[in-house]
Assembly symmetry: C2
Homo-oligomer: 497 residues x 2
Amino acid sequence: MDVYISGVGMTKFGRSKDSLEMMMANAATLALKDAQLERVDAIYIGVMNVEEFVGDSNFATLLADTIGLTGIPSTRVETASSTGAGAFETAFYAVASGHMKNVLVLAGEKMTHLPTAKTTRILSEVIDRSERRYGATMPALAAMIAQKYAQKYKLSIPKLEEILSKIAIKNHYNGFLNPYAQFRKVITKEDYLKSQMVSYPLRLYDCAPITDGASAILITSQPTSVKIAGIGHATDTSAVRHRASFTSFNSTKEAAQKAYTMAQLNPSDIQFAEVHDAFTLFEIIGTEDLGFSPPGSGWKALEEGTTHLHGKLPINPSGGLKSRGHPVGASGLAQLVEIVYQLRGEAGEGRQLERAEIGLTQSIGGLGNNNFVTILERSDRKRGMIEGWRLDYHPEIKVSKKITTPPPPEGVGILETFTTLYSTPEGFRSPLTLGFVKTQGGEIVMACNPDYKSPKDLKMGKTVFLKTKEGLYVFEKRTLWSRLTSWIKGPRKSQKV
Amino acid sequence: MDVYISGVGMTKFGRSKDSLEMMMANAATLALKDAQLERVDAIYIGVMNVEEFVGDSNFATLLADTIGLTGIPSTRVETASSTGAGAFETAFYAVASGHMKNVLVLAGEKMTHLPTAKTTRILSEVIDRSERRYGATMPALAAMIAQKYAQKYKLSIPKLEEILSKIAIKNHYNGFLNPYAQFRKVITKEDYLKSQMVSYPLRLYDCAPITDGASAILITSQPTSVKIAGIGHATDTSAVRHRASFTSFNSTKEAAQKAYTMAQLNPSDIQFAEVHDAFTLFEIIGTEDLGFSPPGSGWKALEEGTTHLHGKLPINPSGGLKSRGHPVGASGLAQLVEIVYQLRGEAGEGRQLERAEIGLTQSIGGLGNNNFVTILERSDRKRGMIEGWRLDYHPEIKVSKKITTPPPPEGVGILETFTTLYSTPEGFRSPLTLGFVKTQGGEIVMACNPDYKSPKDLKMGKTVFLKTKEGLYVFEKRTLWSRLTSWIKGPRKSQKV
């Protein structure tokens, strides 16, 4: 059964004085009005961590009651930072089953009212416990991935900075034109370079902000102007270090393959996309994983202007998570709202794309391990050659390896990647240097480094000493000095405040 | 499209040393083995509050990875204490849509490792903020409902105690026979009466325990011996005091009506049921709401032996939440596992029912505001007269009224119901007397009472004084003494520790 979109709505993203349920009710009201509906058969609520951000449980019920739909079935759905896309997928199946005609999908998060260290700690809970206990945050892991990407594709740090700044500049420009965006300001490379280092080499302008906001979509079995063409969903290892590749996400690739197959479309058919740029580089990795650019060359499409607002394949015309903002539960659904605005020609002057018949969203849950790809299409688009359609997208899905034999407590290893984290979660001192170290047995372990405050002292691919102290791995540069002092100093864990 | 059950599994409920993910992995392994499956198309995870009980987020991903299904789409679903039933419903639509063939539903909760006051506080977050801020807990609200039930149906407190003790005794007997149950002991009326008062008039033996456990079900589009015949889901007002009735749950009645309609069955067709007895009286209210007994007479069916293990309509052959235990996220799914065991004739000696072709579960989310009714049927059951089928179940759904004009800060009101809570959440002193007071404007407000430690000093239907202190309503008996002292004493809120 075909499934369509009959209404959309969202709040302006940013800092809001409204409660989470009021923001979500406002988005719901807009979507219901857009669809000219007063009742629905069910509600799917996407909130990532309402328990800790707001202190509520049973939120699906509260929402149904708040928006005046008391009695209507209401279910909360959560897939970490892709929650909005997860709620949409779940609602899609409910309508596709034929058991429901009109379903409201409602997603939101309230985050700005808490201290940053607390928000960082809550957001870090999406990270596997074995990596989180070192103080690893989302920016820290993204930074380690960025380092690895630069190394693999032979980009110097200045070149990497140039690429990352261009993503931030592009997305801020798009956000400047978007009335729903949190940041409506144009930035320059100087602004980028001046911005605070969050986790080396990622700066504040590489990271999506902390945001309040809500988005809503009504989906229906009745034909409308926008059709849901394809949905794909996949997971990956909980721990990042267990992945066979650090420079692409299996979960995006598998989700994309499913979505293209369901839609009977290829990457070359996609006209524009919203890609989960929680960290600038993730936009580049996303365009590669989606089959828009070959691995390692997504940044070239950016530099050539292909992904710019009026390029051949605009990426994040909304401003993306970077500039529109990132209320974690809402973003996956807000991306879809943007696609609908574009498909309907309602994106507004300056931002409306000329070619807007097929758009795609990619949403990342956690550190790339619960991802969605969703394709929307104008219902009046003429399709040819469906019978002869073939999927030309066959990405390499790398099989992750978990080695279950315990690594030795001491020894030498190779520093695979590292970061120095300046914005640490509650309970950890700043700065904090973290790395992935490959042991002699071939396992990659997370480790912290007690000594080096400047990331320039460390180099990927070099041999380091690995030891365990207080149940944590500690790595040190292999110098005589480190050998002498390592028996005296404690590991980073002892610096917990 | 018809949807079937191909495998079930659960852990023994109780205190477990295993982590939540290990318990859930164990349940998943049993269900996969039962279904003779190694892969599935998707996983739906039911956990109610993994964020606060365990400190994890992104749990759907962790689970897929833990059970060796890395890469498989995994979505977390939550509807408060009916979460297991909510995950099942969500998975049902995914299979019914035709997009998926085999889906794993996996539900669990880990609760026993925290101090009781903290667990109580976390569980209380399902309660509407406006009622929770007084220190209201689930047992407190259930106790206020029990008082109202006794008043409405003219049951003396000793008679109410007799009825409640019989439910506890019956369910403990059933649990005694169930190898998966937390409590495998028979209790007597003396045990019941000796058990600690939790919230007057409810004792420890009226309340489901704090439990660790997990349950799993595989659902499929391939015909098997057990078919999903009907599913219904409905919500109700977030705040209990906004309901038109305190002695039945609209959400159960609406969910039941939908489930019977989908299944083309009537209450009289149901042969046995698992009913959400988080509090003993809820089993009685449940059997009334489901159409098994007229309102106010569910306890007679109990006294006549109808709901006993080998009665005409056995209720909670598993032992129910009371005796099998209540890991909040898992219970809704564990009820369905029990139905499958019975339908397949695998419930074991003593507990296996003779008539087990159609079973029903009712699961309550929050304080009766996110409820599910699910009906399972043996696929080989002969059905007659479907064409002439008519729904003979038309319960009275009472429209809730919220009065939005603010009630006066001081005045007289009627004490609608009350309880004295002995097991208070973190931050509130014990004992704590709470009540619903109907103001002269007709609105019902939650209020606390600073004076009376014995619930026998208060009476429902009597006039009380209502005032506001420190933003909370306080009610006091209307005596000269109370008038004199009310200007001196502070409200209960000032007794926060």
